[in-house]
Symmetry: C2
Subunit: 130 residues, 2 copies
Amino acid sequence: MDVDAKAFLERWHKVVATRDAAGLEALLADDMTMGAPPYWTKLETKPVVQRLLGIIISTIDDFTYHREWIDGRELALEFTGRVGDLKLQGIDLITLNDDGKIQNLDVMIRPMNGLAKLAGIVREKMMAAA
Amino acid sequence: MDVDAKAFLERWHKVVATRDAAGLEALLADDMTMGAPPYWTKLETKPVVQRLLGIIISTIDDFTYHREWIDGRELALEFTGRVGDLKLQGIDLITLNDDGKIQNLDVMIRPMNGLAKLAGIVREKMMAAA
């Protein structure tokens, strides 16, 4: 089935820019998985991933997308940002399902010091929100 | 100027698979830069990057490419591998110059424990070879 990746991307950018939690939920498949930067094991279930994504987006300052690649329902989105005084460069690798929602999202971030700082803050917020 | 990214990719895969140092050198621009996974500051000069890439490729076991995206002279190449018993997933973001050689290469890797182990081994080898 053909999936409109560009339509997805337009909605994704809007949701990220406005930090729209309800809009974000509408873009995630119920059985989605996420390969988060710190861990190998995939995170599962939409509520967990949604909460994590919300926290990540609100923790990274100056979050900006740059190069974007689309190949069918596979997307690669480069971003930069900042955690305190540490700069970050990262990539979202996204697979869309038949409904044009995120089936899997893998996120990689460099450099190590920024990633470690981000992971620490996000972990604290996840536990505080649990 | 139009650059043949697919021809580059064919040569790149061959060089990586055979760990061909001379072939690798021919694919790097003299003034190339590299954003390595552990550091924010870009590495510079071809000899430094070439040595580092050679060490990385020979340190990651089961190095395998998966999804690939090409947009003009901008490429994103997903890979997986292993350092000891720690699995890795990573991405090469490549910009080609007018001659179809690598102008910039940014590499991001997850998860953190695998990246830290890889970075430690590579650093030791770089210093031993210096």
